[in-house]
Symmetry: C2
Subunit: 529 residues, 2 copies
């Protein structure tokens, strides 16, 4: 024990934060003191200021300081000594560790939470990059007034059959009573599974109801497939570019993503074959129809070519068919699964794009043994998908409403697509990939002097949102040299008038944007689509 | 090339299966032939029977054989030679591998699916044991006529406020329009998060809306916590016994589960302390209130004791409070989170037990930094929870209906609890753990001569379902010697009349069950609760 005890003011950098979202004041004092013990500013035997003095100096209530000191005593950082005040204790190894972590969270730093949250690896050890929260951020922008969104991949509210779904919901609950609000089978309601199987048969996909698994949206389908078929470190081949959410969900499951370039007819089979022969790919994730973001559809002759290496190397294909039924020009392409004679294709789709995202209903169709395995993973993930949504959707599908609705929305999206294409055709410094015949998106390459992320930021300031193409390329693999020049424009959620206005705003941005990329960086680019 | 080509009948063991769920006949021929190539029954150069001959012998359509042969040719197993028929090809290394796997799936074996499904490890490499599909099987039994379920942990349909939820649903959709059917924020609707935060404050849990994450049921909460805080191989300490779904979801995430015994006051703090000091526990999963399956509630004095080692070793506690508001006898216990001054407790709850499982809405309340991390994991899992359910629930909560509903269901469950206790009191060979004052379950120990799994099977034959207690113990860790003697009885989903009838059926089973366990196995048992 050192004597005489020193008496220094605690935590010189303690400037209480009083914003609404700041930690409680007692907590700030606690953190600052514990942090000071770690850094050595305060040593064992040091005396904390008397409660009243510190309260006065900080301009806080005395009870606030009392609580902080009490917590510090409970935590073993200080001890109250009769007649001597509150003294810093010699840290035990455990509290020193905690203090070290706690220092990171001390006042001034962003709220990083309690010590036990420090030092955790990224989810699934994946390098999710700067766009990790992109889809979440996008969901938050929905409906902001004045904003024109070319970013959201969602049906606009005026296209969602709200009234009709509401009627089906009420009718379903009247019919099923409270059973419609109970736990349902993990695999999905039999009535919906049978309806989905029937609908698939119309598209030449043969699947019995037991080969169908209802999931809470296509994202859950990808997550369950990843959990069931992939172990951390396994390689998954994807189109480059591809759907951001698939990249993220596979990465979070620990997959290593190998990008295979696409051309105007979808994924390049020659390069896919090469990847399969050289690497140990466990799974292919493809969007053969109305690919997101490029809009390409694999033509019939290439579909057979696509299945051959998958069969030869025994690697299953996940076919994400989210946009498969949303074409702007006939003929309706059948799913890749319709050509699958060897149980190679796991068909995945959703009603989020065709009916309403809020239902959170999608499905997987594949071998019954796979469906059993996925159902187990689903049981461990969320037990089952909302029976309410399933009931409403089953009625909507069975009544023939779905077909009528598809006719309607195809016409609406075809108009928006044509409107956006026409509006863009007047712009000199942007090229539109010409292959989109369906889906929600146009994939565009900017003039070599323009940087997509800068354009996206500038457009947002003018009330137009879009997505920089880099987010769609698997990190570190297969991104072409011009990946920073691409943008994705969605025409699904804006009216034709809003599309014209939004492209006009974008045109201003494109004209005004200074040239910002050194010429050295734009050489050696290669056409992607 | 060998000459002359032999001509043996293909696949001697080919007896076409014609059950409804059997693979297509052409597929059976395909599999049998490919399997025979692998086993050596058929060698390169062998000639397959002419299509017509095989069709006659098997009693199938000729086109069926034609399709099978065509597929075999596509797969490189055979080739058609003009004038010589269909000959087996010399297998390439790739097709030999595939044939080896395919043989496993050939006719006679259970449908194990395509070759690429063979050889995968169990989900999360976890040993999920014989009860892996238990919760799924249970969900499937819901509503079977004549069946009395003491197995399901669900509110019975007559307790679910169906009419009221339907009204809130319609009102919500009228108010929000199609926006209520769109993508919502990953974290949950702001209105519901604020309502949950307000409700938590009434129970002395201080959480801002940004510290609340809406999840698709408590199971998803557990899954997200496991994905976010646990890496494969990490140790998670749980009560032994505990909720089956938690055991399974943590195991599927790769966690190693360490069981800590419970007594009449919940988890034993002395043993917990010992486990924490000896092992590297990353997370505690506890149900401090109305524990499933034992019904115990940790009393106030032990709650403080419980938090101390968690603080000392820097290990967060997941508090599963699914049954926290469902007590049969006052006083209402506050959540453990209400005593948490150091951000150690992650509070997890659900509206599945209190309102309706079909809503699929639960929530996590914890440090904002954790909520951000969980939200990212949720984004990769299912993007967001049904806005529809959230809207209806937010209205139900805000209107004060929730409080009124809780009053009602507490009275209903108290009556069922008392009815089941009274009915069981007449049985000689079953002891009821006396600690349940809330929740859905009674935890009962059978006479030493009885085996729970046999009783469960015999009861099911008499139309009563219950769960053998072994499923609630973490596999291979901490299960007491008498774990085979426990059963869990749920009184939540049967009327008082059905409870009396069901226990009467169980009484018959218990009286008639022969003594079936060697005395050596029932020695050394220890009281668990």
């Amino acid at each position: 024990m050192r004597a005489p005890p020193r008496a220094r003011p605690v935590a010189l950098n303690l400037e209480p934060r009083r914003e609404r979202d700041a930690p409680a004041l007692y907590r700030q004092i606690f953190d600052a003191t514990r942090g000071a013990v770690l850094t050595g500013e305060l040593a064992a035997g040091d005396r904390l200021p008397p409660e009243r003095d510190l309260a006065n100096r900080l301009g806080v209530n005395r009870t606030t300081v009392i609580r902080a000191y009490s917590d510090l005593a409970t935590a073993g950082v200080v001890e109250a000594r009769p007649g001597r005040g509150t003294l810093v204790r010699a840290p035990t190894p455990a509290t020193r560790d905690q203090a070290r972590s706690a220092a990171v969270t001390s006042i001034g730093a962003r709220d990083q939470g309690p010590a036990w949250l420090i030092g955790l690896p990224p989810l699934g050890r994946a390098n999710l990059g700067p766009d990790a929260g992109l889809l979440s951020d996008l969901a938050g922008t929905s409906g902001r007034p004045g904003l024109i969104s070319f970013a959201l991949g969602t049906p606009s509210p005026d296209v969602v059959p709200r009234q009709r779904l509401q009627e089906e919901l009420v009718a379903a609950l009247d019919e099923c009573g409270a059973a419609g609000l109970g736990y349902g089978p993990v695999e999905g309601l039999p009535t919906l599974k049978a309806t989905i199987a029937g609908r698939l048969a119309q598209r030449r996909v043969i699947a019995s109801p037991e080969q169908v698994l209802v999931v809470s949206g296509a994202t859950q389908g990808i997550a369950l497939i990843a959990q069931s078929l992939i172990e951390p470190g396994d390689e998954v081949a994807v189109e480059s570019p591809t759907y951001i959410g698939a990249l993220q969900t596979f990465a979070a499951a620990g997959a290593r993503l190998i990008g295979v370039p696409v051309d105007g007819k979808g994924v390049r089979v020659d390069l896919l074959e090469s990847v399969l022969s050289r690497r140990r790919i466990r799974l292919l994730f493809l969007q053969p129809t109305h690919h997101n973001p490029t809009g390409t559809t694999v033509p019939p002759e290439r579909r057979e070519q696509l299945l051959a290496p998958s069969w030869r190397y025994g690697v299953p294909i996940v076919e994400d068919d989210a946009y498969g039924e949303l074409w702007h020009e006939p003929p309706d392409p059948f799913p890749l699964k319709a050509s699958d004679r060897h149980e190679l294709v796991i068909h995945l789709s959703t009603f989020s794009k065709t009916v309403a995202p809020g239902l959170r209903v999608g499905y997987v169709a594949g071998p019954a043994a796979l469906v059993r395995r996925l159902a187990l993973a689903k049981q461990f993930s969320d037990l089952n998908t909302s029976a309410l949504s399933q009931l409403a959707l089953a009625r909507f599908l069975a009544a023939g409403e779905y077909e009528r609705h598809l006719h309607l929305v195809r016409a609406i999206y075809a108009l928006r697509w044509a409107t956006m294409l026409a509006a863009l055709s007047g712009l000199a410094n942007i090229d539109v990939s010409p292959h989109s015949k369906g889906g929600f998106y146009l994939w565009c390459r900017l003039d070599g002097a323009l940087n997509a992320r800068q354009i996206v930021a500038a457009a947002a300031r003018r009330g137009v949102t879009l997505i920089a193409g880099e987010a769609f390329f698997p990190p570190g693999s297969g991104a072409p040299g011009d990946s920073h020049r691409w943008i994705r424009l969605s025409f699904s959620s804006a009216s034709p008038e809003a599309i014209v206005e939004g492209i006009a705003r974008l045109a201003v941005v494109l004209r005004r944007q200074p040239i910002s990329i050194p010429a050295s960086q734009i050489e050696g680019t290669q056409p992607l689509v």
